[in-house]
Symmetry: none
């Protein structure tokens, strides 16, 4: 370990208590981006961060406007043009939190209990984004600079799917261009098994509506010669799936990059048994494509889920109608190299082909998100692996996340750089839930890993 690195780590250890105080200050700002009632607080969080970055000596530290909540930017390019540049992405907005949801303590008054910080945003993502800020501070305050150039980009709309960030990035591509992007907004199963997420699923979300008669009909007068729209929808939806749980939409799997043996071996390292799955979800039995393990099904394979279904009467007692229409929401989780818009067209075509002349159907696209797949043999990924081994104390696994963070694929595609997802949270931190928390030791361990990662990046061949 170089003196530069050990000096920064030493500094981080000495100043750990202050780092926590600062994090608490930010956690007290209720930056609930989705709720207009908290718009001023959300902006206040952005201003707090920009001021913090400026105070650390970063250049261009400022709040930058978007069509929604602002972006915070700051950079330190003192390593010089011969050294790589790392773009650190994080988000300062949080999901809503009120006591009534079941919090034991007020969500925006952080408290420490059993070595954990309880507060909304503690792990998602204020605690994790702050790790990088403090790692950079540790370098700047000891050896006078980091081993690589650092650009920090923090947004305020991640929890509402970053609607204004892509336009902002297109406008500021030169400003934020880098060699690698690192994001800490994910989690690991246990401390001893840190995880680098190298894949996220994309998404195609659509709505289907079937209409039969022009209004609800009396099922006695018209039943028997009217194709019930709820039945028609049921028949259409049933045709989108095969009996074995696979998806019957023609062409659906065409662009799926097959899992390699190495990837399957990597996925197998994170156990997810039938018993674990049933205990976690409460389902009476596990389901899905038997050609893949449970872990593969929920992370490396595409899905087609019905998220909502509606037709006719759902109140108490009987109502004997043939409903005028029936509808559903459907979302498909995508994997590399599936294209969200192409998948939408395939599903739409399959639905229209399955629709009989006795009803009319309308298919509407709601939203899309690109899947992300970052090969884990890239030097920047392997550097992250070494950083965990050195800074965290345990070598990481490369995992696939089943969820979707569309901005990951957007960053990778727009900047044409690898995005390294170094999660410093635990799967059990309760993000988006009441009593979200973050372990203090993981905060400190994360700072040391982030310090080491910048050093590892500096040693990569240009």
């Amino acid at each position: 370990m170089t003196a530069k690195v050990s000096g920064a780590i030493e500094y981080a250890r000495q100043h750990g208590a202050r780092f926590l105080d600062e994090l608490f200050e930010m956690l007290r700002i209720p930056s609930v981006g989705a709720d207009p009632a908290f718009a001023a607080d959300t902006r206040r969080n952005a201003e707090w961060l920009a001021a913090h970055l400026a105070a650390l000596g970063l250049d261009k530290a400022c709040v930058m406007e978007t069509a929604g909540h602002p972006v915070v930017y700051g950079e330190w390019l003192g390593a010089g043009p011969d050294k790589p540049t790392v773009l650190i992405y994080g988000h300062y907005d949080v999901v809503p939190a009120v006591m009534e949801d079941g919090w034991d303590t007020p969500p925006f008054e952080p408290v420490v209990k059993d070595g954990k910080i309880y507060a909304r945003g503690a792990t998602d993502d204020k605690g994790q984004l702050f790790i990088h800020v403090k790692a950079l501070e540790a370098y700047l305050k000891t050896s006078g600079g980091a081993p690589v150039n650092v650009k920090i980009l923090l947004e305020g709309e991640e929890e509402v799917s970053s609607p204004n960030l892509v336009p902002w990035i297109r406008e500021h591509q030169d400003l934020i261009q880098a060699d690698v992007c690192v994001i800490s907004d994910s989690s690991m199963r246990v401390v001893e098994e840190p995880a680098i997420t190298h894949s996220l699923r994309g998404m195609t979300y659509l709505e289907v509506e079937v209409q039969g008669p022009r209004e609800d009909l009396h099922s006695g007068f018209w039943g028997g010669a009217t194709h019930n729209p709820a039945l028609a929808l049921v028949e259409i939806l049933a045709k989108l799936y095969n009996a074995d749980g696979t998806i019957a939409v023609p062409g659906f799997y065409d662009d799926v990059v097959p899992l390699t043996d190495a990837e399957r071996a990597m996925l197998a390292k994170v156990s997810l048994t039938e018993e674990q799955f049933m205990a976690a979800t409460g389902v009476p039995a596990v389901w899905g494509d038997a050609n893949y393990t449970i872990r593969e099904r929920v992370s490396a394979r595409p899905t087609l889920d019905i998220n909502g279904l509606w037709s006719g009467y759902a109140g108490p007692g009987p109502k004997t109608i043939i409903p005028v229409r029936a509808g559903c929401k459907i979302s498909s989780r995508l994997v590399g190299n599936q294209d969200a818009h192409k998948i939408y067209e395939l599903i739409k075509k399959a639905i229209e082909a399955a629709t009989p002349p006795t009803v009319k159907v309308e298919v509407r696209l709601i939203t899309t998100g690109k899947p992300a797949l970052i090969p884990f043999d890239l030097p920047e990924m392997q550097a992250a692996s070494r950083a965990y081994a050195r800074g965290w104390g345990y070598a990481p696994l490369f995992t696939r996340g089943g969820g979707s963070i569309p901005i990951v694929a957007e960053l990778a595609d727009l900047l044409k750089i690898p995005v390294v997802m170094m999660g410093y949270g635990l799967d059990t931190d309760g993000l988006h839930s009441p009593n979200e928390h973050y372990r203090i030791d993981m905060f400190h361990r994360g700072i040391e890993t982030a310090i080491v990662y910048l050093d590892e990046l500096a040693q990569l061949p240009a």
Copy 2:
């Protein structure tokens, strides 16, 4: 025409406007019997009717308790023991109605447009039951009495299949015993072709709920290995039907009495072409068992309809969940000799057999009703035919109704009397639909026919 009859008709014509005002008063009471939120209004409707009957001079006019919504009773027995007694049955409860369903005007604020009354209950059944009340009033206010004895029985649970009326009838059989029962709760195709319904379909109404996980799941973290309950429900429901529109529940058709050639010839008298069906309902094409005519399918054949369907998120935009559960309401219209409880067991068994071990299913019986068949050569039926010819102006057809009024079979069975269904509505009145309406001229014409029918009954040999 006797002076008694023509006097009553003259009175009805003179007081027609007031009759309508009174009907409007009742239509303003939202007596949605199925919805507990409207329990007080439903009772208020019963009290309004009892007060109305008392004011007309009926004896024993009162609200009588049942285990559910009350019964309204009143009688006039002034014709004496040598004259027959007619029991008039109707119902003051209505099916749910809210603007969001597509009403052009508030469902409980009756308005007149193009000679039609728009309001929930206008044709089903407040407008039709009121015809008999006003026919009796016309006699009482002119010649001092009706040609036959009249008992009026109005219930508040017809739209939920009269769960408490049969026990009430058993307890009050002496009170309501009569020689014939007349019910106006049905309809005709066109004014020139009035109809006496001599057959009704029965009903089995059930609810199905499928549960998978213990709560909504994140579709990204768990999608691919969780059997989506909405999909499971879709798959189960799809298995209940054959591709040709027939019902795939094993044993479902076993007890259906085949239609004779004579019955098919009778049914063929009331034309129902593909074009007429499409125009009346708005469906893009007619559906169903091609072995039967459209008229047969909607009146003389059993059905299985999905009346409601629900699961997960139905609000705006996306929500990426695997819903905890999915449910539906299903009703089956039955014909002789299908037994409603046996059919329930068959459907339940088919659903359970179609349910995979990946989800749990619960099937609940909501209500049942017997099918009814009244021979049309009975004197009371022929008297009704003459009443239409004299009072309405057109001789009627004897038809099969596709709907269900389970109490018809119960009244016929318990009191051992013919039940004569003299409908005064139009097939296109939109009962149970948004913008239910009733033609004002049919209301007045109905009153005159009802006046004549009492006279026809008086002339039947004892």
